[in-house]
């Protein structure tokens, strides 16, 4: 039996660190796939690991990460939100409209977008958590309804949001793009929430067995309701960032298919669709996997339809490895 001294508990030795690293790899087999993917892309293109390209990948993946973290928590708690693509569009349009046509300050524009996202999340949460309707049906319905609303309210493209609003998508904080800083903050907050707060543990408990969680005194409605609101808010924030980066939004196309991309990242990251299992580190790996795949295939100049096929095959391979990995991952 290995004994751990008090000193090793405070400052882990090399052996402990190595063992911890191996455990992390065992629990997140996608890490191996991602490493292989990066190696292949670097060897094939010679420019994949260039700092400029890595910055581009991180910036592109930021919006995905911002939504993937709260969505992962929602899925861990046994729920689902398929409306995030449309919520992203509505958030982007609201922020763009406030910053552009209404000439409001960037803060007001972003707060307005967040309020709209929170409202969509609250409707989802109310219907799913308090009225007991199927999250799949409700959020699928909201996906269409919110998109229709966005197109009705903003039938024409919006653009020209001003330099102040452009800060959100284009500024650098300590040399790092602002969206990446926001995404990092969301990832850290999500990880800390899951690991160190009682509500974080409740999320797992609700996902594993709602009845048992309820009988243990966990509020099985309020927690997922709050997660729906946070997910909606995060989607709107991602929308505001995209609007800032592009300085334009189109109601009909902004965020289309985004819900499936986010869900793919979450599931690739080892979050169980049935609830009760998952980690923020896994979600981060899922997000990076998708970001690297898209970027690498473009760098390799793979023709369009081959890209589609390669993306599909890589996704299935990643998912299979995650599934056939050790039980500790699930």
């Amino acid at each position: 039996m290995t004994t751990v001294t008090a000193a090793e508990r405070v400052v882990p030795g090399p052996r402990a660190l190595a063992a911890h690293g191996l455990t992390t790899v065992r629990r997140n087999p996608l890490l191996v796939v991602l490493t292989l993917l990066v190696l292949v892309f670097q060897l094939s293109t010679g420019s994949f690991l260039d700092p400029g390209n890595l910055r581009g990948i991180a910036t592109d993946a930021a919006a995905l990460a911002i939504v993937a973290v709260p969505l992962a928590l929602l899925v861990i708690s046994g729920y689902l939100d398929l409306s995030v693509g449309s919520t992203l569009a509505l958030g982007a349009l609201t922020a763009g409209w406030l910053a552009g046509e209404q000439a409001q300050s960037p803060v007001v524009a972003v707060v307005g977008a967040l309020a709209v996202g929170a409202a969509v999340g609250a409707v989802n949460g109310l219907l799913c958590c308090y009225l007991g309707l199927s999250p799949f049906i409700v959020t699928l319905g909201m996906l269409a309804a919110v998109r229709g609303l966005a197109q009705q309210l903003f039938p024409l493209p919006l653009s020209g949001f001003g330099d102040g609003f452009a800060w959100l998508g284009g500024a650098r904080i300590a040399g790092i793009a602002a969206p990446v800083v926001v995404a990092a903050a969301v990832l850290v907050a999500g990880a800390l929430f899951l690991a160190y707060t009682p509500t974080g543990r409740h999320v797992f408990a609700i996902g594993v067995n709602r009845e048992a969680a309820y009988l243990s005194g966990v509020d099985v409605r309020r927690t997922p309701f709050a997660l729906f609101v946070v997910t909606g808010t995060a989607a709107a924030l991602a929308g505001a960032i995209k609007a800032s980066v592009l300085d334009s939004v189109v109601a009909g196309t902004s965020g289309t298919g985004f819900e499936l991309t986010v869900l793919t990242a979450v599931l690739l990251g080892g979050v169980a669709l049935s609830g009760g299992s998952g980690s923020v580190l896994g979600v981060l790996l899922g997000v990076l996997f998708l970001g690297c795949l898209q970027n690498g295939l473009t760098l390799m100049s793979v023709p369009t339809f081959w890209q589609q096929m390669a993306q599909g095959v890589a996704l299935v391979a990643g998912a299979a490895l995650a599934y056939f990995g050790p039980r500790a991952t699930r």
Binding site: G52, D60, P155, L156, P157, V250, T253
Partner: protein, 345 residues
């Protein structure tokens, strides 16, 4: 003490279902009340009559790509144009889905919508529906192409749109880059319209500027994809000079990628161009940035054609088909840009 832990109480669930049923019934009644009586009486008269003998009171515009901004503009302008002739404009919601489009068109044929203007997603599959419409004495106008069974058509030269843009970029490359440089095309190979534009754009450019190195042809029709693809391309080719897009939306994503990579707005060695004449791109051209050209269609010309062609068929005019012109918009075309922006607004 035990409580029902997870779901709503039976009473509240019943209440919710009752409210939902009430709301659905009310919506259904309202919808029926809004549309049925007028159209059914009108269609009963129209049935069996020859198209040329009709007094046209209804035109159905079946445009499947409701997600693109042009759709809203077309509906607004066509509705106004139709109103001038006391004609009601109906629309479908096809959600860019050929099956849904076929179903909606069959419904219109069954309820004898007097004139149908349809942009078929799959031309071959729409042929039988068009035939059924003609057999029922309805007017069928094909939008964006030609069918065997039709009363008339509204055509666009999609290839011409791409050709104009390709020629413009090639001319610029010859003048500003001495015929050398690097170009990336943002293309669409998924639908006929996209393939035609792509071919026109690439053929024209590569023929006139053979010295420019084609570094990529990437699928992108929206700004987000245009941005991420261009970001990747710029990592590999930071000296990329030209990005041409199958749509203005995709090209605008490329424009933002170049800006974020540090390219100055007035950079003399950079050219971005797209197709459609969408507002953000037109504004960028007007401001004198390196977004330099757009092959634009005037929404007002299209909207007028949507109304005028069926009316001309109903009036028995010979050769009522029209080809909507496409025009290259560049820096300096201020009046045209303003006119297009006004139509879009």
């Amino acid at each position: 003490m035990t409580r029902r832990p997870l779901s709503v109480t039976p009473a509240s669930r019943r209440q919710f279902l009752a409210w939902s049923a009430g709301a659905l019934t009310a919506t259904g009644l309202a919808a029926t009340g809004c549309s049925a009586p007028e159209s059914s009486s009108g269609s009963a008269k129209a049935a069996g009559a020859s198209p040329s003998a009709k007094k046209l009171t209804q035109i159905g515009l079946d445009y499947p790509f409701t997600q693109i901004p042009l759709y809203s503009t077309l509906v607004k302008l066509s509705t106004a144009a139709a109103k001038k002739h006391d004609v009601e404009l109906l629309t479908t919601s096809d959600a860019s889905n050929p099956d849904t489009q076929a179903s909606n068109l069959n419904t219109w044929v069954a309820r004898k919508t007097q004139a149908i203007v349809s942009f078929p997603m799959v031309f071959e599959a729409t042929e039988s529906i068009a035939k059924a419409a003609l057999d029922a004495g309805l007017i069928w106008v094909t939008y964006g192409g030609t069918l065997e069974n039709q009363s008339a058509d509204i055509r666009f030269s999609f290839r011409e749109s791409g050709t104009l843009l390709g020629e413009s970029a090639a001319k610029w490359a010859d003048e500003e880059l001495n015929g050398k440089g690097k170009i990336a095309f943002l293309v669409d190979n998924t639908i006929e319209l996209g393939r035609e534009r792509t071919k026109g754009m690439i053929d024209a450019f590569t023929k006139l500027a053979p010295g420019v190195d084609v570094v990529a042809q990437e699928q992108a029709i929206d700004p987000d994809t245009g941005l991420s693809k261009s970001n990747a391309l710029l990592a590999k080719h930071p000296d990329l000079n030209i990005i041409l897009g199958i749509t203005d939306a995709a090209a605008y994503g490329g424009f933002k990628a170049l800006q974020q990579a540090g390219r100055k707005n007035g950079d003399r060695k950079t050219f971005v161009g797209g197709q459609d004449g969408s507002a953000p791109s037109l504004l960028a051209i007007k401001q004198g940035t390196f977004y330099r050209a757009s092959s634009a269609l005037a929404p007002l010309d299209i909207s007028n054609a949507i109304v005028d062609v069926p009316l001309a068929v109903a009036a028995g005019k010979a050769k009522p088909s029209v080809e909507v012109p496409v025009k290259l918009i560049q820096r300096g075309d201020t009046a045209e840009i303003d006119a297009l922006l006004a139509q879009n607004g």
